[in-house]
Amino acid sequence: MELTGAEITIRCLQEEGVEYVFGYPGGAVLFIYDALFNQDKVKHILVRHEQAAVHAADGYSRSTDKVGVALVTSGPGATNAVTGIATAYMDSIPMVIISGQVGTSYIGEDAFQEVDTVGITRPCVKHNFLVKDVKDLASTLKKAFFLAKSGRPGPVLVDIPKDVSNHKTTFSYPETVSVRSYHPAKHGGADQVAQAVEMLLSAKRPVVYSGGGVIQSGAAKQLTELTRLLGFPITNTLMGLGGYPATDKQFLGMLGMHGTYEANLAMQNCDVLLAVGARFDDRVIGDVAHFGQVPRKIIHVDIDPSSIAKRVRVDVPIVGDVAHVLDDLLAALRASQRKPEVAAWWKQIEEWRSRNCLVYRNSDEVIKPQYVMEKLYEITGGEAFVTSDVGQHQMWAAQYYKFNEPRRWINSGGLGTMGFGLPAAMGVKLAHPDATVACVTGEGSIQMNIQELSTCKQFRLPIKIVALNNRYLGMVRQWQEFFHGNRYSESYMDALPDFVRLTEAFGHVGMRIEKPSDVESALKEAFARKNDLVFLDFQTDPTENVFPMVPGGKGLSEVILAEDL
């Protein structure tokens, strides 16, 4: 039977087992929306802005191991989606974005709502396609899902001109797919694995450092087993939190610009570093030259060869899927009788740990943001899915919420996209309808996609929004305090809305909390309201800063602690 391009698009989504599509209709995708209307397998979530559609698909993907799908129209629909696509690209999140395009005969004529979507998105997608013939549509969508999910995952965009979505052809969904130019590695080289094992077993001051690759590869179990077997200290990047249980004794906390003292010093002073699915970025190791001052052997496991030796010299590069490589390492380590001697190193680490770098001075007068995060962790039993926006609140959530499982911590690490948290939480809540989902945000970030409170109403998504409202763009203010002579240029937000009434106007529940003594009861009440979206507007200390801090361009051991000031 012949189907239209629009019908084929929806059939392909069904074949891929897509549960939700996040999108917004418009002229160029009318046929696709018509095809969506005539079926009930793929559910559509109507957002209020295309950026949110992509973030929601992203949150859905991050909290599961599935490909997130977004559907937007041509022109402004596509350009609005770009921030979401770039966010997913920087964090290697598997997604397929379907965009409408003006009809093929109009392309290049500056038609209404025409934009070169493939050109605009090229630098922020893993790959993209413009489908010019309906006969290529099914195979292109098949390729798109394959590319998005395999190798180093990432967003793939498929641009479908309006006439292509209305042309008919015979539909058959390809069972297999192969792209002759694309062969991601699975297993690492046997020689490198053997070298790595020898290096790990003879380490005196080892550290395991893992990132988002462990989460994406589904390798948390292997990472945990390996780290325990070796008895090594481990630290996670912001993207890697949950890859190793945060409440475990071997866990040193997050590292990097706002990482713990013990994690950063261990990273700086180790003699053997096992880097797993992490990429030594500037927010993690600070100044490369400073990091290089201490000689250490580096074993780097990553599926993307271009991540290896990009910023630091690597002694043992292992290109492969993290889960497979860790399996191979585990098998070799189990076969060995040797045990590394790391007692002296642990003694040193415990000394660093005893600085208790995350301690803060609580107050009876004003709500401390760290206190809210601690209570959030307690009251949700550490079991919540926590999304966040970007800024101080993001760092406090990362520092004080202990994630014991992967895919529970959902944040924009690479691109640092304010406005990510709420739409991402929508995707998470749809993927896990029975789970507790909290969105930690600030009064700046939440306003970047606050219109999604309307989507939450329509689709009954009882997310708990935990806003740390300090009346400042806090992280900007912190940098201005430290590095720009206290000149708070445009970091103060005057005329904030009344978030309680705003939330109520959207049909939800709002709470304003001003006293430290009310924090716990407010959180308890909010989380007890299983069926309501609750916006908790915590009026927090506007002067509070995030510590520890490794200033930009400095080395990991040049850290500022709260007690230093």
Binding site: V118, G119, R122, P123, K126, H127, L130, L147, V179, R180, S181, Y182, D304, P305, S306, A309, K310
Partner: protein, 163 residues
């Protein structure tokens, strides 16, 4: 250091801009870039002349390999290879200049491929240095226009770049 990199990629719309975009986005140098379909019409072959430290060249090779449209990459500079570039030069060829131009053509193995009352178009093929040498040797006031293709490269002997 200067490197000459050869690659095969899918002969599809947009493939060239993916490569060009990669170089500009990551701040890599492009000295020249040439591209044309191969004997297999589904494949294009590109030659890129670039420069950078060893670390940068390593990244360039990896990033090129990462592009989904790129089938295979060979850094020709890693081994023995040949480079050729084509240059067309339109020169002022008044009677008085013609002997000198003919002598230069002999020296550089060039060919005169178009003649008018006052101009020649000359064709030269060779390494970039040879073409530079020609431009240095000829009286500059005679040059009306030049066009160069950029280098094409191929490995020597058994070094073969194919699917």
């Amino acid at each position: 250091m200067r490197h000459i990199i050869s690659l095969l990629m899918e002969n599809e719309a947009g493939a060239l801009s993916r490569v060009a975009g990669l170089f500009s986005a990551r701040g890599y140098n492009i000295e020249s870039l040439t591209v044309a379909p191969t004997e297999d019409p589904t494949l294009s072959r590109m030659t890129i002349v670039t420069s950078g430290s060893d670390a940068v060249i390593e990244q360039i090779n990896k990033q090129l390999n990462k592009l989904v449209d790129v089938v295979t990459v060979l850094d020709l500079s890693d081994g023995e290879h040949l480079e050729r570039e084509l240059m067309l030069v339109k020169v002022c060829a008044k009677r008085a200049d013609r002997d000198e131009l003919t002598r230069l053509m002999d020296d550089f193995h060039g060919r005169i491929i178009d003649v008018s009352d006052n101009t020649y178009v000359v064709e030269l093929t060779g390494s970039g240095e040879k073409l530079d040498g020609f431009l240095a040797a000829i009286d500059h006031s005679l040059i009306l226009e030049t066009v160069r293709t950029g280098a094409s490269g191929i490995g020597c002997g058994e070094r073969i770049l194919r699917l």
